[in-house]
């Protein structure tokens, strides 16, 4: 690691650390395992690609039985993003066999490779790449075995796509036959030949998602749907939000409620176990009839996210460049913010836990089952190999919601009920009140253009808590500070660049002169926070793209032309052009006080998918209400595995980002969060979704997979704010951009 780069201006005084992460980040940046911290697996074969780096054994990923049926394992989980189908397509393609002949096992600490978290848009990159190469290795070995069996050279053989290897003379060997002569307990090689994109049979097709039919017909699709023999139902009893404690829960009354089997009490942790789910809820309500006190840190108060700027912080230099003195003709200065967001999963978190024969099995929708099995083991006092966590789908989580906590709590409860499977589900208000929120954040920008309309100076600062407080030990769960003896709270740490967390995408992909970009990492958390889809990229892109529009306007340059003038990455230019062409940018209506258009671009983390958004809106000047007429997006996610899946992720990202930008705000008072239902935490509903969304995929055949799950969030909110500025002539900097704020900016008479 390099010596710390000390800034000559010494922004922070007294004990503040000034650390440069540049070198470490280059090394960590290529890590697998989700790229968002966690105690990910160790790299053992850096020469291999994707998660093969951490688990190079082919039979950890792929096994083929004598009948030619394949069993494939991935450590990544289906979160509703369609990854199961995409990964299946990838491995089927490289194995060159029908997906239907593959049994696919995902994210099970007892059966699959440890691929760390399913997060950070890493699943295609980590697991897709591993499966592609493992599949290519296995296919190569199968062809080799067939060649040996037929006594002909490998070059005279090819796979047929239906589980056979065919020779030019017409002889065929089935995969089963070939596999019989083969051990897959070998390490992968780096150069197994991949199938060429021109001959793809399964990949780059709109293969229908394998998990959807059950979801449309009431099949057992979710952890919530599990019904193990003898299973009982649990509810936890808590104050209204994280950082509160009930003073006098009525345990005696709850115990007398119908169907109640057990009351679990450990320190402040209190749970009801009942025969039926409704009985557990009723008893929980009875127990919960109690006053509460605040026990947690002070909430942000009236300053909102700007409170972060008055807390102690550690400065991290993200990027600095010195291009010599440059003249500035126009300058834009601004400070931007976003509030705390709820993940807002439609289904509150749920887990099923079963202690059987001294081993604890938990079915969980955590994004990090591998971390969970270690941390939960520590929490409940079992050896890690006695705890198995099996990922089971649930409602979308969009990051670190209540899933991990519910899993750990189900484990604690099940420890008290040996032999009895326990299903715990949080209540709606518990999910809102207790899950870690997405971080509130603040940015400041001062940027100038010179006479050439090029950016001459770019000074940027961002304030944020850690976006990664996933449990790597027992102390990471909320319940760990409720039980006795407890575990101290996990110490928050930033994710180093180039992935970054609060500073994710704070470093421009654009080429600017004289950059000075700093991340003020704030360890103290006024609100419990952790990862929410796109982490800090959301506000950083929002800020950067707003500044670009303002500077373009100041220089009298079209926003698209201004961006292109600062962008050298050809793929970035291509998505900007594709989105704006489809939108009709050059012929767009110009802001007329009511209607207007905006665009924005980002490459997620500067190393993930490229995404550009253009949209047209209309503002009702009397109320500030925003109508989004149409949205065009273009995305380059490398080699697409399932184009429809990419489109689905981008469409969803756009709508979720619009919801964040327009509506969302986790409110609080002096003692607790006050967002507790869909009335106090409204999100976008059908009457407000855009008139149309069209997503174009810029295909990059044969190039590495780039996950698309978080690519649209930053550009969409940014394009919206730019469209508001175009339409109404007002630059809004503090999300949510509610009608009241739009109206206030326009003015009463406006």
């Amino acid at each position: 690691m390099n010596a710390p780069v000390l800034d000559r201006r010494k922004v922070l005084s007294g004990g503040a650390l000034v650390v440069a992460f540049a070198m470490t980040s280059r090394l960590l940046g290529d890590a697998v395992g989700g790229g968002e911290g966690g105690a990910g697996p160790k790299v053992v074969r850096p020469d291999l690609e994707g998660s093969l780096k951490t688990d190079p054994w082919l039979d950890a990923w792929i096994r083929i039985d004598a009948e030619g049926q394949a069993t494939v394992c991935s450590g990544k989980a289906e979160l509703g993003q369609g990854i199961r189908t995409a990964l299946l397509q990838v491995v089927a393609e490289e194995l060159d066999m029908p997906p239907a002949a593959i049994t696919f096992i995902t994210a099970d600490t007892g059966r699959t490779p440890d691929e760390g978290l399913t997060a950070g848009s890493h699943s295609m990159q980590d697991s897709g790449t591993a499966l592609a190469n493992a599949g290519a290795n296995v296919r190569m070995l199968l062809i080799g075995a067939a060649a040996k069996r037929l006594g002909i050279p490998v070059r005279e053989l090819d796979t047929t796509g239906d589980g056979h290897i065919a020779a030019r003379d017409g002889r065929r060997v089935s995969y089963g036959e070939a596999a019989r002569a083969l051990s897959l307990h070998v390490e992968a090689v780096a150069d197994a030949p991949r199938r060429s994109p021109q001959s793809y049979r399964t990949m780059n097709r709109d293969f229908r998602r394998v998990d959807i039919p059950a979801k449309l017909t009431g099949g057992e699709a979710y952890v919530q749907d599990m019904r193990l023999p003898g299973m009982v139902h649990a509810r936890v009893v808590r104050g209204p939000s994280y950082g509160t404690r009930l003073t006098a829960p009525d345990i005696a009354a709850a115990r007398k409620m119908p169907g109640v089997l057990r009351i679990i009490q450990n320190g402040q942790f209190l749970a009801i176990v009942a025969r039926k789910e409704w009985q557990a809820i009723q008893a929980m309500r009875v127990a919960q009839t109690s006053d509460y006190v605040k026990t947690g840190p002070d909430l942000p108060g009236e300053q909102g996210p700007r409170r972060l700027q008055s807390l102690a912080s550690r400065e991290i230099i993200v990027e600095q460049s010195d291009d010599g003195p440059k003249a500035s003709t126009r300058t834009f200065k601004g400070s931007f913010s976003r509030p705390w967001y709820s993940h807002g999963s439609i289904g509150p978190s749920c887990a099923v836990a079963h202690l059987h024969g001294g081993e604890l099995t938990i079915w969980s929708h955590s994004q990090g089952v591998f971390d969970m099995h270690r941390a939960t083991a520590e929490l409940v006092g079992l050896a890690p190999d006695k705890v198995r966590v099996i990922h089971t789908p649930s409602a979308g989580c969009y990051g670190h919601n209540g899933a991990d906590d519910a899993t750990a709590e189900a484990g604690l409860i099940a420890m008290q009920l040996p032999g009895v499977p326990v299903r715990l589900q949080w209540m709606r208000e518990q999910e809102f009140g207790w899950e870690p929120c997405g971080c509130g954040m603040v940015t400041q920008i001062e940027a100038s253009i010179g006479p050439d309309n090029k950016i001459a100076h770019w000074k940027y600062e961002v304030w944020s808590n850690s976006h990664n407080n996933r449990a790597v030990g027992a102390g990471g769960y909320a319940v760990a500070q409720e039980i006795v003896p407890g575990f101290p709270m996990q110490v928050p740490a930033p994710i180093p660049m180039p992935e970054g967390d609060g500073d994710r995408n704070a470093n421009p992909l654009y080429v600017f002169n004289n950059m000075d970009i700093r991340y003020h990492f704030v360890p103290e958390m006024p609100m419990r926070v952790s990862a929410l889809r796109s982490l800090g990229a959301h506000l950083n892109i929002f800020t950067m793209e707003a500044a670009l529009d303002e500077l373009a306007k100041a220089g009298g340059v079209d926003p698209l032309a201004f961006r292109l003038a600062h962008m050298q990455d050809e793929r970035a230019r291509a998505v900007m052009l594709r989105a704006t062409d489809a939108f009709g940018w050059s012929k767009r209506l110009r802001g007329d006080g009511r209607r207007g258009c905006g665009m924005a671009f980002a490459r997620y983390k500067n190393r993930g998918a490229y995404c550009a958004i253009a949209l047209e809106i209309e503002i009702e000047r009397e109320t500030g209400a925003i109508t989004i007429h149409r949205v065009n997006a273009a995305v380059d996610a490398g080699q697409p595995a399932n184009p429809n899946g990419i489109r689905n992720q981008i469409e969803g990202g756009i709508i979720q980002s619009l919801s964040w930008a327009i509506h969302e705000d986790m409110t609080y008072d002096t003692s607790k969060r006050t967002g507790f239902d869909w009335g106090t935490y409204p999100i976008l509903r059908f009457d407000q979704v855009p008139g149309s969304i069209d997503v174009d995929i810029v295909e990059s055949a044969g190039l590495p997979f780039l996950g698309a799950g978080e690519a649209a969030q930053g550009p969409t909110s940014a394009a919206l704010a730019n469209a508001i500025a175009d339409a109404a002539g007002v630059r809004l900097c503090d999300m949510p951009l509610t009608p009241a704020k739009v109206k206030a900016a326009i003015g009463n008479a406006g």
């Binding site: 127990a287 006080g593 109320t623 239902d677 869909w678 009335g679 409204p682 009241a740 003015g747």
Partner: protein, 417 residues
């Protein structure tokens, strides 16, 4: 025959009003910015946009249907579009409409436009509202034709109505009261037209002056009495009224439902002082409300209620208690208990029925109390059972009679499924 004709001509003559000449739309710049700004606030206090904006339509461009006992009226376009709005109205024409209920072309306007209240608005305020409206962006939006029962489509009849019920003049200043009170009185009696809903109407659709603020009906909801008859369990104070009018929910009372929602939405963004003034005025009006105390403990009599309404108790436990019961999240978040709800202590079950059938949408910015509609899931008998239960459980008032009949009626009139 001749005499009859002569009488007719005479009658028409009495009702006849001249056309006021069309003008070219005044330049937006011809109004001082401060006046336009003031007009914007006054227009909110007058709820202009509430009635003159159709669902999904452009603000102030009209077209919103208003169901009345006499048929359906459609709000007119009050943007300054020359052809379909009021773009060619001079200030004199505007003032005549607001004060006398006569359109620029001389025809009489239905009192759905509350000119019986607007007539009290000062000249300066009318000028400001005019300035505000004439500086809006014109929207071309023709008004749908009204659908009225015969013979009310014949507008000269309205002259008779005005003769009987339209009283001009300033809102009297009560020197025995504070300036704030008097400001509240001016706003409430004039622009706010609060009596439009909260005062009962006679068969002619006019407010009964002798029963001012004795409670009325608006769009199927009951606007509770705002005089000494106010049935609130806890006495309204100026502070609690302010919170309610500003946010749509008072922790000591209940949430704004039905047509009160849009009123709150308007009041949420006007200067604080105006809402304080309204609050002081109405707190004084309700001041004499007899036994209610500011800190009265909410009533809760589950045993009596379950004995009287066993089925209602079951329905309540499964359909309502998840929000309104003890230990429910709303309760720990400080929302008012049902024992404080005016809908339940009211002499009429009207609003309670509507709240159950239609639910409540958060009035301000879509954020706040949100109650689902039970019309699709509960039968009339079930709504009656649960309301009978909550009336007994949460109040000391006598049971409502004919509940099921009233529910059926409300469902029919509200077009509920």
């Amino acid at each position: 025959m001749l005499a009859a004709m002569a009488a007719g001509v005479l009658a028409l003559g009495l009702t006849w009003r001249p056309t006021i000449s069309a003008i070219d739309r005044p330049q937006a710049g011809s109004f001082p910015a401060a006046q336009v700004n003031q007009g914007a606030i006054l227009a909110k206090l007058g709820d202009c946009a509430v009635c003159h904006t159709a669902t999904g339509g452009r603000a102030l461009a009209g077209g919103r249907p208003l169901a009345t006992p006499f048929g359906t009226l459609f709000a007119s376009n009050i943007t300054p579009d020359a052809e379909t709005g009021i773009g060619n109205w001079s200030y004199e024409a505007f003032r005549r409409a607001m004060r006398d209920g006569v359109s620029r072309t001389g025809s009489h306007l239905y009192p759905a436009l509350p000119y019986d209240h607007y007539t009290h608005v000062t000249e300066g305020d009318l000028q400001a509202i005019y300035a505000y409206l004439m500086t809006r962006r014109p929207v071309h939006a023709p008004k749908p034709d009204n659908k009225l029962i015969f013979p009310l489509g014949f507008r000269p009849l309205l002259a008779g109505w005005k003769f009987l019920y339209l009283r001009h003049g300033d809102v009297p200043y009560d020197s025995g009261q504070s300036a704030r009170y008097n400001r509240g009185a001016y706003l409430a009696e004039g622009l706010g037209h609060c009596g439009g809903c909260h005062t009962p109407r006679n068969l002619m659709g006019a407010e009964v002056a002798s029963k001012a603020y004795a409670g009325g009906i608006a769009e199927g909801w009951r606007a509770p009495p705002l005089n000494a008859e106010n049935p609130a369990a806890r006495k309204w104070t100026a502070d609690s009224l302010y919170t309610f009018l500003r946010t749509g929910v008072s922790p000591d009372h209940s949430a704004a439902g039905g047509p009160m929602g849009p009123v709150v939405e308007s009041l949420s963004s006007v200067p604080e002082e105006e809402v304080r003034a309204l609050s002081v005025y109405f707190a004084a009006k309700m001041g004499k409300a007899a036994p209610a105390k500011a800190e009265a403990e909410p009533v809760d009599r589950p045993a009596e209620a379950v004995a009287a309404f066993p089925e209602g108790a079951r329905i309540f436990a499964g359909a309502c208690a998840g929000c309104h019961g003890p230990g429910a999240p709303m309760m720990s978040q400080g929302r008012p208990a049902l024992g404080l709800s005016t809908d339940l202590t009211d002499s009429e079950p009207t609003s309670a029925i509507q709240a159950v059938l239609q639910g409540i949408e958060p009035p301000v910015e879509g954020r706040g109390p949100k109650m689902p509609a039970f019309a699709p899931s509960l039968t009339d008998g079930q709504v009656a059972a649960v309301l009978g239960y909550v009336r007994t459980r949460y109040t000391h008032k006598p049971a409502w009679n004919h509940l099921e009949h009233d529910v059926r009626q409300a469902r029919k009139e509200g077009g509920q499924p």
